[in-house]
């Protein structure tokens, strides 16, 4: 169904090919999980198979590619191929769900009388039958992605290509989409799934192919075996591995076996109450779009501590950050030091035409005397020095994320607010981002981070605030809140397996997870081609 022979792809201006001799064969009924590092050619391979490269995106392509019996490249998209990408906003093109799902059938000239029943069946198959009369613009991320999947599967493609379909979703929605994706693995079809959240998603495809940094296939075999045998290398590529594979990457049999000095930086309650408050919010109430977004929220942001704000979608997390930053009309009081803010999508915050000017923006506006030295130091600290003259809009997602953190950190605010800073990022950028926020707190600033990622919370934060329907339903130190199953369940939060296992050890969660990370990084250094997940190696 899919066959590539010596596939080489080089983008214009690139120093070396992103794919350099890829051989891949998939028969009908074969379903592959495609893994690789960020920028390592996974998406490029899918785009070649979908025909987008080189038909739409220019690149030099050589070697043989055959998909569903057709030799590529061709002038038209192959009607037997379905292709789904990360962002529902990029693939829902019509105003209503019904029209959206019907679109592919109309384009294949399916008789109108057959279209209605097939649309309904496709939506049922992805557990989205109830969405049929909704407007596409009103769907949540998870709903949108399920509708996008229905719109792809409705034409019954022989080849299904899925490029990180869950990466922009919160954990609960990601599970729903992953389950829907699994229903698309039929015996008549071949599919390729690119995914990096392997820790939380059940139902992985049976076969796994790993692309190496050299642009070739580095491993190919049954998923369980590949994840087991190449665990250290995969961890070094920035993937979130299932717990068993992560333990294997760390070279231990269980979390109990990890030895580490018990945490000196562990979140003790005495430290919590003694650290000075740098931002105090009292009775913060926000009305947005005619309804209450936030009800009388109190929050103390303390110097040197990271407060995580968690809760389901629409619970008011982002609104709380906007209120703390004074960016939305609110009643109540917010008193304290200066506030910097990092938004969910870094490109929304860009102001300058080069990375250097972007970082220098704040210090220049503040008329700092030492702008040049400050900017150089910050560029180095955030591993941006090689990119100083690049256009911020042309950076990769991970690079843009580091840039927006750097540009906020350089201003020296007393408080830094971050709204889902690891949104859509792989494990390696997530770790780098967490490290950067932790470092800012360790400098004595107060940090507030909104996130859906409870592993990030466990690794990074000291305190947690749980929001639901605009109200604080729980607050406390990380170990207290993570151990409160009732609160987590009510807020629709699911503890990732690694965090649950770390809690079960009875030792401080952050200590255990740090030890796991350190052991994984160490074995990555030892493994032949792995590199530890540090800031400097994030965007190879």
């Amino acid at each position: 169904m899919i066959a590539t022979r010596g596939l080489v792809v080089r983008y214009p201006g690139a120093a070396r090919p992103v794919l350099d001799g890829v051989d891949l064969d998939l028969r009908a009924g074969e379903h592959v999980l495609l893994l690789g590092g960020s920028g390592g050619g996974k998406s490029t391979l899918l785009r070649v198979l979908a025909g987008v490269v080189p038909r739409v995106v220019d690149a030099d392509v050589s070697g043989g590619v055959e998909v569903a019996g057709r030799a590529l490249p061709t002038d038209h998209a192959d009607p037997a191929t379905g292709y789904l990408t990360q962002d529902p906003a990029d693939q829902l093109v019509l105003p209503t769900v019904r029209d959206e799902v019907a679109f592919g059938l109309e384009n294949r000239a399916v008789p109108a009388s057959e279209i209605g029943p097939r649309v309904e069946a496709a939506l049922r198959a992805v557990n989205a039958a109830h969405l049929i009369d909704r407007r596409t613009g009103d769907l949540s991320g998870g709903e949108g992605q399920r509708v996008g999947l229905a719109a792809t599967l409705v034409t019954d493609p022989q080849v299904l290509l899925l490029d990180e379909p869950t990466s922009l979703l919160d954990p609960a929605a990601a599970r729903g989409v992953a389950a829907a994706v699994a229903t698309g693995r039929t015996r008549q079809r071949a599919s390729v799934l690119v995914e990096h959240r392997l820790d939380e998603l059940p139902d992985l495809p049976p076969r796994t192919v790993v692309l190496g940094d050299d642009g070739r296939v580095a491993a190919d075999g049954p998923t369980a075996r590949v994840l087991h045998e190449h665990a250290a290398r995969l961890a070094a590529l920035g993937l979130s591995l299932p717990l068993a594979a992560e333990l294997r990457a760390a070279g231990v049999a269980s979390l109990h076996a990890l030895t580490a000095a018990d945490d000196d930086a562990g979140p003790g309650t005495d430290r919590a109450s003694s650290a000075p408050v740098v931002l105090r919010a009292r009775g913060v109430h926000v009305r947005r779009d005619g309804r209450d977004g936030l009800h009388d929220v109190d929050l103390d942001v303390r110097a040197g501590r990271v407060t995580a704000v968690v809760g389901p979608n629409g619970s008011g997390k982002s609104t709380l950050l906007l209120a703390l930053a004074g960016l939305v009309a609110a009643t109540g009081s917010v008193v304290g030091g200066t506030v910097g803010s990092v938004f969910q999508r870094p490109e929304h915050q860009l102001l300058a035409r080069t990375v250097r000017d972007e970082v220098a923006w704040g210090p220049r506006r503040a008329r700092r005397a030492d702008v040049d030295a400050l900017v150089e130091a910050t560029l180095g600290r955030y591993a941006l020095d090689g990119l100083a003259d690049h256009d911020p809009f042309r950076l990769s997602g991970g690079q843009q994320r580091r840039l927006s953190l750097a540009a906020a950190a350089v201003c020296g605010h007393d408080v830094l607010l971050a709204d889902e800073p690891t949104f859509g990022q792989d494990r390696r950028t997530t770790l780098a981002c967490g490290d950067a926020l932790r470092a800012l707190a360790d400098e004595g600033r107060g940090v507030v981070v909104v996130t859906h990622d409870l592993r990030l919370v466990a690794e990074l934060a000291d305190d947690v605030v749980v929001l639901r329907a605009g109200r604080v339903v729980a607050r406390g130190t990380v170990p207290t809140v993570l151990a409160d199953d009732r609160v987590l369940a009510e807020a629709g939060l699911v503890v990732p397996p690694a965090v649950a296992a770390a809690v079960a050890t009875g030792r401080p969660v952050r200590t255990v997870l740090r030890a796991l990370r350190a052991a994984t990084a160490l074995s990555a250094v030892r493994s032949a081609d792995g590199r530890p997940p540090t800031l400097a190696t994030v965007d190879r």
Binding site: A50, G51, V52, V56, H76, A77, P79, Y83, T85, A89, D90, Q91, L92, V93, L94, P95, R98, D99, A102, F103, G104, L105, E106, N107, R108, A109, V110, P111, A112, I115, G116, R135, T136, G137, A151, T152, T155, L322, A325, G326, L327, V328, T338, V339, G340, S341, F343, R345, E347, H348, Q349, L350, L351, W361, P363, R365, A366, F393, A407, C411
Partner: protein, 269 residues
């Protein structure tokens, strides 16, 4: 009732909601074209008096909505009246501050101002009773507009739909980068700040547009002949709507000619 949103019909049913979008668009266009002929205020005035209750009832829009539409177009109508009043040659009725107001100017200006209000009411009635998606399907079916054009418009509409929220987010995201900003201060409105926000919104929207275009093509748009899953009906009732509206317009024009109030550009020279 939810507030009107871009490209969405009001969420109730009415005679106008059920009519064919292409027919509605064509009829309103013909009416606005026909009204380029008379330059006396009586003809467009009478039509406006008929159109106001007709749109209110046939579209079940409510008097308040229709009057708001009139208010929306009133400043433009007044400016048309003012400009014509002082620029058309004719018998002077008032002189002052270096300007001369003429009877012809008042008549022509009044006619064009009333025409502007009428076109405004028709456009609002059309917009509030027509769904963008159904309009595009109908234009494809009945006006033979190619699928690439209609679906490109719909994809553009998706981008447009997200524009207000994106604009707000970008302005907030950029405002917070200003080190001297006071919490609670309004978002900056200087030309530089607006230009930077516009640039970011433009880049983000263009990229989304490119990806939407890929998605359209990837799902087979333009690959060959296509079917329409939910055709927009076109039947006798649409012909009746066109017949009634165009008939009334014709009657009004004939009546104003018959009574001698009709004036055309030829009359005012």
């Amino acid at each position: 009732m939810s507030p009107p949103a871009l490209g969405r019909a009001l969420p109730h049913d009415s005679v106008l909601h059920r009519r064919n979008p292409t027919v509605k668009l064509a009829v309103s266009s013909v009416v606005s074209l026909v009204l380029l002929v008379p330059v006396d205020p009586w003809t467009p005035g009478l039509l406006l008096l008929l159109a106001l209750p007709a749109a209110t009832v046939a579209g079940r829009l409510g008097a308040r909505t229709v009057l708001r539409a009139v208010a929306l177009f009133a400043p433009f109508a007044l400016s048309v009246l003012a400009v014509n009043a002082v620029t058309c040659p004719g018998q002077v009725v008032w002189r002052g501050v270096g300007l001369e107001v003429t009877t012809t100017g008042l008549s022509v200006g009044g006619a064009l101002a009333l025409r502007a209000l009428l076109v405004g009411v028709l456009s609002v009635a059309f917009t509030l009773t027509t769904d963008a998606g159904r309009l595009m399907t109908s234009l494809h079916q009945h006006a033979r507009l190619g699928p690439r054009a209609t679906f490109a418009v719909l994809a553009g509409y998706r981008v447009l739909e997200q524009l207000p929220e994106r604009w707000e987010t970008v302005r907030r995201a950029q405002a917070v980068r200003e080190p001297g900003r006071r919490p609670g201060a309004p978002l900056p409105r200087d030309a530089g700040a607006l230009a930077r926000a516009a640039f970011a919104v433009l880049v983000v929207s263009l990229r989304q547009g490119e990806r939407l275009a890929v998605a359209l093509e990837q799902r087979g748009l333009g690959a060959g002949p296509r079917t329409v899953a939910r055709p927009v009906p076109l039947d006798r009732r649409d012909a009746a709507l066109a017949g009634v509206v165009l008939g009334v317009v014709g009657l009004v024009v004939v009546a104003s000619w018959w009574t001698g109030v009709l004036q055309t550009w030829a009359d005012v020279g």
